[in-house]
Chain length 120, copies 2
């Protein structure tokens, strides 16, 4: 079936969450939001393009930082209200310079930092 970005289920803000997962390692890198146009742009350009809720603008991941996400494959969940982007990530995905945004683990009721920022 031909894919139409309009066929996804967006929330009342017109957004859908997208998980970025490292294609090689399987590491979950980050979650951000897309609107219908950023889904289309991501597929057209092969560069993962979110919608920045704070800036209300397209956010081509890595455009300023160089920490680009090249799309390997985009997947849709059963409810069509969540996306999974398998990516090749250049450098850290997190703005804190860590590989993944999920660097805090809960262990025995404590918050534990399990990932260090990468060197520049």
């Amino acid at each position: 079936m031909r894919f139409d970005p309009q066929s996804l289920r967006y929330d009342e803000m017109g957004l859908i969450p997208c998980i970025a997962q490292d294609h090689d390692s399987g590491q979950v890198l980050m979650v951000a939001w897309m609107n219908v146009d950023s889904v289309a742009r991501t597929l057209e350009t092969g560069r993962v393009t979110y919608w920045s809720r704070s800036r209300q603008a397209f956010w081509v991941k890595g455009e300023s930082s160089g920490h680009v996400q090249h799309l390997v494959e985009l997947r849709i969940d059963c409810d069509r209200d969540c996306l999974l982007a398998l990516v090749n990530q250049t450098g850290p995905a997190c703005h804190t310079n860590r590989r993944s945004c999920f660097y805090t683990a809960l262990r025995d009721g404590e918050e534990v930092e399990i990932m260090a920022p990468q060197a520049d």
Copy 2:
């Protein structure tokens, strides 16, 4: 630092998205929502417990289907507005009987089913 479920950033509905990832294979299984009490219950019981938006009730994953998610580790992202649950998943995670909800891939502009339902 001691973890307090109240310290997470919930949306205007009091919810936070949680990704379930297979601890062994790294496969992303599903995304569902938690409120502050389901986060606390998940940590207390070791059974991943979402908040069902449609039923407005706790949803102990697998309670009726037997397709339980045992929590291995819960992680928080940098913005504290998304969770990652590493789990041991019994059987399929998806209500369609597929291992993962992300069974539809976009390839050359087409929707392609990449995963079959598991046999009962």
